[in-house]
Symmetry: C2
Subunit: 257 residues, 2 copies
């Protein structure tokens, strides 16, 4: 019996013109476009599993998907070349690898980093407008860093989870919230953790922006966490500033092959 | 008699969804959108003059326009705030100033810089795809620099001017062609000169890319210039990599007010 060949792809996409990652009937989604493309390159319809269900408008620098490649007519090593000119312009394959049959693209992830970009210029920068949220008000980065430090570590993140989320276990670990400037006006906030609840990064950033504006004191972050109540935290930052930036996998899964 | 108030605006735009700068009936253009917007803010229809007629797909970090502001209902100092939410998202006003009545936005320009961006990654970067041209083949930057050095100075640039151009005097001065990396895979080429012929920067870049690929030797640039024949040079680089980056004005014009 031939062993099932499982392939992992690393994708980048500009989420602006997608209705999110997850397949939805009649809507343009990343999963939908990718499955249509892979199915055309295969003898049978292909379904993919994604590591993260990014929302409508959210981008990816390194989303991971896996699929059973047994019916592929294009050899996996030629998929990236085949993608050129056949995949939509806002979706690219950055890397591919054959993975062991028991690999699971979601459960094998060790940690993920999401990047949120804030355009702090007085006038929105047209060159980053698809990937950053414009905040013309002055922000205190010092206050934001102080507020963010309260979120490091393992906590029940109910206060930062969309009320409609299906996840029941709300405990997650944030390893790092890292602030840096890509340019004078472009602030990046990298949030790295072992997993994320629905809207968690956008709710954290929305709250930290309020801290930066001076509307929420940085010392309020600990009590907000303790409240276990979404209403305690700040607003949800808009999707277009968010990019799934990196997914780190357990080496064990990938070195077995 | 009230003196005519002339206002200069500095614009940035993402040219992807515009049919170029110049007004054209029935097409979405920068001039068309700006005049429509200014006219709605004025008692009479407003016409603008642009410093540069950027082509379809070409962007601007700092295009300049001027217009007679006498019938403006919004005071010039409030135009930028008024623009927020009323101008299309891909067109912004970065600056404004009242200029002397005899100022001319085109003739008062001392020099301009155009930036051309090349994405040299194996896979196109989705985050820069609107503003860079993807060239997956390896390029010799050293050969490109050597070739570019032959173009510095005052020359008849007929070989780099679109055959259909209306300009009759083809002599221009290039002050500098500057190469740098915005990131490992993103090469920027800044071309600074006292004026540019139709498609001149795109023809220079298209030729330099051929030099980088080894298809044209860098020593061929001087004879290509001497040929005074568009067919001697390389192809026209695509518009989306090009951005009108800076226009420098004579201080005399602007300090008079």
């Amino acid at each position: 019996m031939k062993e099932r060949t499982s392939v992992k792809l690393t994708l980048a996409y500009d989420g602006t013109d997608f209705h999110g990652f997850a397949r939805q009937p009649g809507l343009r989604t990343v999963q939908g476009e990718l499955e249509k493309w892979l199915s055309e390159a295969s003898e049978r319809p292909v379904e993919v599993i994604g590591a993260s269900r990014t929302d409508a408008g959210v981008h990816a620098g390194a989303q991971a998907v896996q699929f059973a490649a047994d019916s592929l007519k294009v050899p996996p090593e030629r998929l990236m070349a085949y993608a050129r000119g056949t995949l939509p312009h806002d979706l690219t394959i950055r890397n591919w690898e054959v993975v062991p049959a028991d690999f699971h693209v979601r459960f094998a992830a060790r940690w993920k980093t999401y990047r949120y970009m804030l355009d702090l210029g007085q006038v929105p920068d047209v060159f980053v407008r698809r990937f950053a949220t414009h905040v013309p008000q002055p922000l205190s980065e010092e206050a934001m860093r102080e507020g963010a430090s309260a979120l490091h570590g393992t906590h029940d993140f109910t206060s930062f989870c969309a009320a409609k989320a299906e996840q029941t276990d709300k405990v997650r670990t944030i390893y790092r919230i890292h602030f840096f400037r890509q340019s004078d006006d472009l602030m990046a906030i990298d949030v790295t953790g072992n997993g994320f609840l629905y809207h968690m990064v956008r709710n954290i950033v929305g709250t930290l922006v309020e801290v930066g504006k001076g509307k929420i004191p940085p010392t309020a972050l600990a009590p907000i966490l303790e409240a276990h109540d979404r209403r305690a935290a700040g607003p949800t930052a808009p999707p277009q500033g968010l990019t799934l930036w990196h997914i780190e996998y357990h080496k064990d899964w990938l070195d077995d092959q």
